[in-house]
Amino acid sequence: MARVKFLCDADRCIDCNACVTACKNANEVPWGINRRRVVTINDGKPGERSVSMACMHCTDAPCAAVCPVDCFFTTADAVVLHSKDLCIGCGYCFYACPFGAPQYPKLGNFGSRGKMDKCTYCSGGPEGADGSAAEFAKYGANRMAEGKLPLCAEMCSTKALLAGDGEIIAQIYRERVLKRGYGSGAWGWQTAYKETVNV
């Protein structure tokens, strides 16, 4: 199976937040929880860049390593999923996550902040039952089971956000950079995958 990844081409991202909206709608993510977000670096200054970020489904995922109840599972596509049945809402994954992906339904004390929620790469939950209503209510859409990629990347208005086999999207990005002559790199790749896209 492929090793799927996300890649945000910051030179194309226009901070339109379509990915955020697509994610919210496809997965019916509750109010106040953002599985995906767009962060603008050096906002308003020359050379500003916007980056769309969600769970990067890291290699050797920090969240999975620190979870006190071992509720994380990695699929054959290398998507990092967690079981909301097992999660105790302790917040450790948030300390460990380099990308601020874990979200909690309640804010205050960590004793009762609720089950963690994060991007599932539109792969539903780890319990199987692909495409069931129960799975949708708990984890959101399972587009991968239908052979589709995450909706955020599919909806990207400038095709800045790429999802799919890491090798293929890296090649697409490489060709873009060669063609246009510049590129600010695959943001987060060095941290998430211990490799970057060399052009």
Binding site: P30, W31, G32, I33, Q103, L107, N109, S112
Partner: protein, 48 residues
């Protein structure tokens, strides 16, 4: 032994009190991350 039982009872009482006390300042994410113009009228949520 009697003092020990009183101590354990008080300990549980304080902990339960803390639970209810902390829940007063606990905010659900939808309330905390909504701007004043947002309408939160999903089921189970106070209308706005």
């Amino acid at each position: 032994m009697r003092v020990f039982l009183i101590a354990v009872t008080s300990m549980i009482a304080v902990a339960v009190g803390a639970y209810y006390g902390l829940n007063l300042i606990q905010k659900p994410a939808d309330v905390a991350f909504a701007v004043s113009g947002a309408r939160l009228d999903a089921p189970g949520q106070p209308g706005g």
